[in-house]
């Protein structure tokens, strides 16, 4: 009995080994490179397409892409994996995790990697707001990948029915339009609150109107930065949003439904959401829709918005040949042709001037005018310390606090001023904790 058992096991193993050998014949000499990414749905399909295009383009390396959940979940998976030396070679990490990654000691700055592997990347070709975010001391730390910015999406049919050609470019004008949409009973929901409203309606709002969000150039000039958004127009913005919520003009989607689907289903007439919603809106919205730049305050000194999205990080602790593969893939991603294809397929901003100019000269933006809005918004005015971007340690934590405090405004527990005071106070504790831990970096 025992011997037949052993025999059948060995038989199985041999068969398995043979099978492996047969299928692995092509892939055997390819270097496998793990990439953990964080975008799903249609965007995730596009990522898989990008990977398969790269794998087909050469026969030395094979990128193995794995979806690890949203940005926060992917980061948590990375942290857990890094501590037991099981990290991927490439990580897609959101702009909010920039400082965490930068000071993690777990990464190879992209410029260093590319130079070492013999690639010449023209970092000056990256468009200004993108380069401004990812370049530290003149050198980029990560490869800008999917960069977006929030834009104002609107239901053109609903606006026409209310007698408007397009949304107003000021918050004051937009307010009148949203209330008119409701009063004329064109829609029961004039605007949907996006899930990442702190990014669009608070942070980008602050940058566009040139208000300081924190001292030390929003964290660019040092870890000893302090939040100050409780002393700026942000307070009035939260009060305005609260009024809209109370009047039923602005609807909070809540759990169980994606805010953007409230727009694409026609339930809500507008939403301020990422430009990367293009692929979804184009596929799902069954009405005439359009988009516009985010509004600003009347008489404001209007500046550029800030970017969202994510970048690709080369992770430490990998063999020389894997690093060479990472560099080859990064080089592939940074090519104007790839950038152009990626931007068209997703709605993300083309991150290099070369790709942007190529799309422009082809007349792509004439046929797809809403695709250019993000770039227009990102390059409005000369960037200031208030609009360049945000560099805060443990930004995820202070963001979660900001959201929680603003929710207390929705519930009526706190006034906008009380909530933002508390949010700034708690946020500053996070910044001090980070400063203490990373002193001298």
């Amino acid at each position: 009995m025992a011997s037949t058992y052993v025999k059948s096991i060995t038989g199985l193993l041999t068969a398995g080994a043979l099978l492996m050998g047969a299928t692995g014949a092509h892939a055997a000499d390819r270097v496998k490179i793990e990439w953990w990414y964080a975008i799903s749905g249609k965007l995730g399909d596009t990522v898989q397409q990008l990977i398969s295009d790269f794998n087909k383009s050469q026969d030395k390396y094979e990128i193995v892409g794995t979806f690890k959940g949203n940005y926060e979940e992917t980061m948590a998976a990375m942290v857990a994996a890094y501590r037991v030396n099981q990290q991927p070679a490439i990580l897609q990490s959101a702009e909010r995790g920039f400082m965490t990654m930068l000071n993690s000691g777990a990464i190879i700055p992209v410029d260093q990697l590319m130079t070492k592997q013999g690639y010449k990347t023209d970092w000056n070709d990256f468009i200004k707001p993108v380069a401004g975010f990812y370049i530290v001391n003149g050198k980029p730390a990560a490869l800008p990948f999917n960069s977006s910015t929030p834009i104002l999406w609107y239901n053109a049919d609903a606006f026409k029915a209310a007698g408007f050609d397009a949304p107003s470019d000021t918050w004051q004008g937009l307010e009148k339009q949203l209330y008119a949409l409701k009063e004329k009973k064109i829609t029961d929901c004039s605007m949907a609150l996006p899930g990442d409203f702190q990014w669009s309606l608070i942070e980008n709002y602050s940058a566009i109107n040139n208000y300081p969000f924190a001292t030390k150039a929003n964290g660019y000039a040092g870890l000893d930065t302090e939040f100050v958004y409780n002393k700026t127009g942000v307070v009035g913005q939260v009060a305005r949003l609260k009024k809209w919520v109370d009047d039923g003009v602005l609807k909070i989607a809540g759990q169980g439904v994606a805010p953007i689907s409230l727009f694409t289903s026609g339930t809500c007439a507008t939403i301020i959401n990422s430009t990367a919603s293009h692929s979804g809106v184009e596929a799902d919205a069954k009405f005439k829709w359009s988009a516009a730049v985010m509004p600003h305050e009347e008489g404001a000194d209007v500046r550029n918005g800030t970017i969202g999205g994510a970048s690709l990080w080369a992770v430490k602790g990998k063999s020389e040949e894997v690093q060479a593969g990472v560099a080859a893939f990064f080089n592939f991603v940074a090519q104007p042709a790839t950038q152009e294809w990626w931007s068209k397929a997703t709605g993300y901003v083309p991150v290099t001037n070369a790709a942007y100019q190529k799309m422009k000269s082809e007349g792509y933006f004439k046929d797809h005018p809403t695709r250019e809005i993000a770039i227009e918004q990102l390059s409005r005015g000369e960037p200031t310390d208030n609009s360049r971007g945000f560099r805060f340690g443990n930004h995820n934590q202070s963001t979660a606090i900001l959201i929680e405090e603003i929710q207390a405004v929705w519930t009526g527990k706190k006034t906008p001023q009380e909530a933002l005071d508390s949010s700034v106070k708690r946020g500053n504790e996070i910044l001090r904790q980070y400063e203490k831990l990373h002193a001298g970096k």
């Binding site: 979940e73 993690s104 929680e404 929705w410 831990l437």
Partner: protein, 330 residues
Amino acid sequence: MPANNAIMTSSEGAAARPRLSLRRSLGSLVRPSEAGLKASHFRRPWLAAGLLAPQLLILLFFFFIPTWKALSLAFVQVDPFGGTMIFVGLENFTTLLSSPEYRDSAVLTLWFTVVQCIATLVIAGLLAFATDNVLRGRAIYKGVILLPYAIAPAISGVLWAFLFNPTVGPFAQMLHELGLGWDPNRRPFDALLLVSVAAIWKHVCYDYIFLVAAFLAVPASVMEAAAIDGARPVRRFLTVTLPMAAPTIFFLIVMNFVYGLFETFGIIDTVTRGGPAGSTNTLVYKVYQDGFRQLDLGSSAAQSVILMAIAVLFTFLQFRAVERKVNYQV
């Protein structure tokens, strides 16, 4: 009460056996008289050790190592990647205990757990009592009640969230038509109610199975005697069935507490994400949020240490307080 007795003896056994095997493995160093009669059953200590090994390994990997990790992180502040670490003593704890958000979360958790525990027991008790009086389609009746237990918490959570979503949910529309301003995104009580109902709905079936079994185990002779004495069904239930089912009820109270404290995580994550403004952010969910979402590992570890202390304390108190009043004899 078969179910309950089995659990009691197995837990006593688990506590007793490691001690015995340890003594046997130490061999003659231990005075034989103290080893007692039971120890003599294990002539070969390695057999006892081998039989215990799977359980001990599970404890090692899922209890002792995580506990050690939590303890070692609770007194430091650390970069998520482990690059920098500063020993801060009790600072993580003092920061937590002085934070109003943490205190709110503790009060909320207590409220939620107690309400959930009582409501689940009462509803399951009523359904179990009614089981005896359902004549036709009893199997269907039982099946329908047990169904929710087969649904994964995350899926049921998403369904609850969708059905009661104030913008698109059909049940929310009904509530609005009744003139109720239902909105779990803006009204903390609505959010808490929704989470509680979802948690209770999911757990009623568990209590129900145990209670049906406990009620069935009441000897028919006792019930008949009560009936002959003129007790009506409700009175028989209150004065005969309930006291005899007390050990099961005690067991369920403990299990409901454990469920409410630790296992409602999936429902909260899908139904409210702890919002609005932390109004459904229970202690366990906060550990997850702070640790895995925000990567504040020091604070998260300190919170799990506090939570562990609470769990130990509660179990101890419950056994001490309730066990004395429970009659295990049938």
